[in-house]
Amino acid sequence: MSDIELYLFEVDKNKAEAHDIAEKSASRLEAKKLKLIDLITSLEPYINNKDDGSIRAKSVGYLADVLAFLPLKALSGQERRLLCDFILGRIEGDLEGVGASARALVALEGLGKWDVETVQRVMRTFIDNTHPLRQFKLQTERYSIVQLIDLLLAKYREASRHLQEADQEFMPSFISYFEGEKDPRNLMIIFSLLQVPMTEWDVHANAQDLFDSVFNYFPITFKPPPDDPYGITAQDLKDRLRDCIAANSDFAPYAFPQLLDKLDSTSMNTKRDVLQAIQACVLGYEPNTINLYSVTLWDALKFEILNVQEEDLAVESLKSLALIAARLTDSADGPLNAYLRPVIKECNEHLEDAPTKQSEASGRILHAIAVSGYTAADKVVKGILPTLFSLYNGSQSITKRRGLLEVLNEIVAAYIELGASQPEAKIEALQASAGDAVDAMIRALVSAPKAEVSFRLASLKGLAQLVSAHGVLSEKESGRAVDTVTDIVLHEQLEGHGNIRAQAIKALTDMAHSVPHAVRDRSLPAFMVELPDVPAEASSPGPVLEAFAQLSTERQIFDTVALRLKNKYNSARHQGAPQDYQRSLLLALLYTFTFGTPTQEDGITRAAYFTEYAAPLVTDVASSSEHQSDSSTLEIVGRIVNVLLRPQGIHLQSTVYNHNVQWLASAVKDTSQAMNLAPFTLHYYAALRPEVADAEDIVFVLKAQADLALNATPASKGADTVLRHISLLVNKFINPKTMQATLEASDIEVGALLSGIPSPQAISVAFAVVKGLLIQGKTGALATKYLQALLDLLSTQGRGIAQRFATLLTPDDILSKENHCLVSGLYKQKIFNQAVPFMTAAVRTADATSKPNYFIALSGILRWLPYSVIEASLPSLVAPLLQTLDLTESTDQSVKASALVIFESVLMHDSTIVAEHTASLVTRLLNCTAGPTNHASVRAKALQCLALAPRQLKREAVVPYRRQVVKRLQACLDDAKRSVRTEAVKCRTAWLGLDEGNEDDE
């Protein structure tokens, strides 16, 4: 059998086999074992089969497949030409297999470039003989043809354009050729190929038809079928269609009216598409064309902003308005004026009855337009501000004035944005009105009643903006603005409604960014006047100090703020100001270095800050150790030293360490002094890099701290700090290899501490050591052994032990990487893996007295773990956690709270896990809502959990409890605490909501 016979035999049954046959023919052709003429001749009886069209089509398909497999240069130019003639000739007489013919032609083109004449012949043959495309029912056939036409248009731009220029009749048939195509794959190509005539040909005469041929598809409502293998989305089609609509200015007379017509659609998605298309058109069409439609567009688009239906539609409309302004700015003045005249007129009208939704919208419109460029902004200012100010001055209504100021603020905000993006400012128009604006705003802030919060806030914002708009205010005007705001910060002592200090401080900080010198020269001295060296009994400089410290967030005035604080502290100290005041000053200094923006060198805070600010404080501590400052002040000094010392390099740290090691050693030895000094030493050692410290000294300090902790009375205040210090030393300074030996040498080996009947102090120290080890994660076996020893105590000891488990994972800012501690990435998982399975197993066999111990310890551990760690073990945790909710002692409240937090997360993320416990969960949660045995925080949390149940659990699982829950929650609505009542209302609403679902189902 010949290849064609085999092919025809296989093609319907086995596509792959048919392909193989074609490939074989192709390789024989290539190897010259088969002559082209013989191949064609062998096709003869089939390709001309009079009775069966499908055989003719399949024969062409065979030819197309063979050609597709041929490599470059397998056929001579003459052969290719002949084949081309053959195929085109067939199409003229017979349309069967037209898709395959197109494929064959694409393959032929791939074998060698065509000349102009061939291109035009191919194009003509298809347009003349196969018009319209929709007559072919198979998508694949049409697909092959549009691919061929796409190829012609893409590769032979000139040739196809000449075709259109030579024949006026060509374009109409070309446009109508694709009419009625519905398949998204074909449309994707058609939208793309039409771009060529739309942008490159002179289609003026056919513009409407061409436009309509694509706009017929607007808006695209295509929804891809599920598991669509072609992956074409509606968005892909929308993007290509939009490019077509915006392709040629000649489309404008048809595009804008039709688009604006569709903007009245009730479908939000259609409106979204329209706005996108309008934006594309504004960008795509010539400015001259835009000019013709700018006012029409404004008249339509404004409604989307003045009466917002959907916020995103308003935003897109604003963007469109801004684009129009930007496009018109490039040309002469006339078009922009013509566009802005009605805009300004309408906005001015809306200002007359400010504040309304419309006046607010006007502000947005003016902002959008002004931000498009200085030219437009200039015109907006000239058009709006005179009216705005005359309305402002002509009205006594504060509400109205507020509305007007808000519009003014929108315009000024545009200038700030412009200043950030365009260096060449054109601000004369705004400058001319700025003086009036500053006057009005200062007057508002100074004289308006303090209760008019929104009015004063608008003025405050306005002042900050005017100062920030680069170059708009004169130095004198900025100075007045700064003075006014400073005055509010310093002298307004309102509490509750009317207090705008927080916003004023923010405004002052913003101003400091733009005019640092004005703030430095005018505000800071004013602050200093308010901060005495020694405060009089009655005055409370706290708020002033807080405000002052906040100014340090602006880098340019940081150094001045910090220096003034330091000087003030020194004067206060030397003149014997009260400790509280000194401490506040130190706190302010700590605030500046923690939250302010000190100058950095090589990415770390400058070393000079340490020498200038922290070192003198350390010297003070060293020398004043006789007459002792109180430990809360020492803690702040410690923190300042910590924050400045810890980022520094080894060199500086070594110097500091060696300088202080002597006096610290003697201070630590003295028990009474050491306890008092503990907050300082803790933070000081926390700042040091481990390699800086001397090992012997560390052991000495550890021993001293252990001594302190073991002999502390339960009442002693510093005991906690000492324990944290032990954790720190164990974690950071002690070599893990000699850990046990070092602990023994310091008398704090955990096994020894816990032997016999351990004292509460010994247990505390044991927990501190274990905490340091666990976080470090370098002494696996030892840490495991010690933790197990602690766990074993749960069955024999009282609740005190159980409660201490919470401390193991409690976050501690001392044990952090910033403090050069060793923090294992997996320590939380490790503790979880060892402790939790042990406890869940032990609790099952535990007797009634020790059972609560396990619940308490378990909650203590779980409370600090991220949800991802406990997630996998949740099924085994639910039962003990539910029993935890039954604890009744008043000391167990925090335990219950943490169990409730876990239930909240479970309900949120993995509600199926608790689904089988619904009954007992709902009951227990309800029990937890009852006061006063439960604390307010527990009651509120229980209500939050309970509120999640109807949303997160299956309807049928919760509906049976609805009546009971709704009834019992009535009591919670009358809870003594307001915060609990708020939660009760939310919770009850959620459960009442179950009813509605029910009705909908019916």
């Binding site: 009466n307 504040p355 939704k357 005991a719 005190g800 201490r804 401390t807 409240q893 006063p932």
Partner: protein
Amino acid sequence: MEADKDNANPTIINPSDLPSRRRSAPTAKRPGIFDALAPAYPSLADPLSSPEASSDSASSSDEEREEIDEQEVYDLISTISDPEHPLSLGSLGVVKLDDILILPPTSPRSRISTVRVLITPTTSACSLTTVIGLGVKVRLVNALPPRFRVDVRIKEGTSRTADEVNKQLGDKERVAAAMENRSLVNVVNTMLATCE
């Protein structure tokens, strides 16, 4: 679409001018910004002195009652959405703090207090007044303990249909009947959906 609305362009009260708990409770101690600088953690020495526990015990020691007051009622209903505008009743001035009154029990033996809310429609011809009143009533009945009787009325002189609406809202049977009406229930639920 806009033409359907009884009042297309109502006055809107700026959020910062609305009454809030903060305004009426000026004495509450504000935490200073420095307090966060020296945070306290649960102590290793005495785990029961953890900050949560201590704040709990603090609150339990002053487990004194915070009575339900007018501001609390205002907070419950001011976030209800207007049926025509995507705005809250508070910001439209439909409900005002001054128009909420809690009346104590009339006799020493009675436990029943009364909450009286007066509603100010945005225009005197607002046809949705009844629906708004119904929404406020439903919200309060669901959110206040049963010892409160809820009395929702239209403020005198603000609506042409005040008498009729008041009659409807005051009639238990008619309110119950209204809440059987599915489309009315849906409107009310949409209004209440914005309540926290």
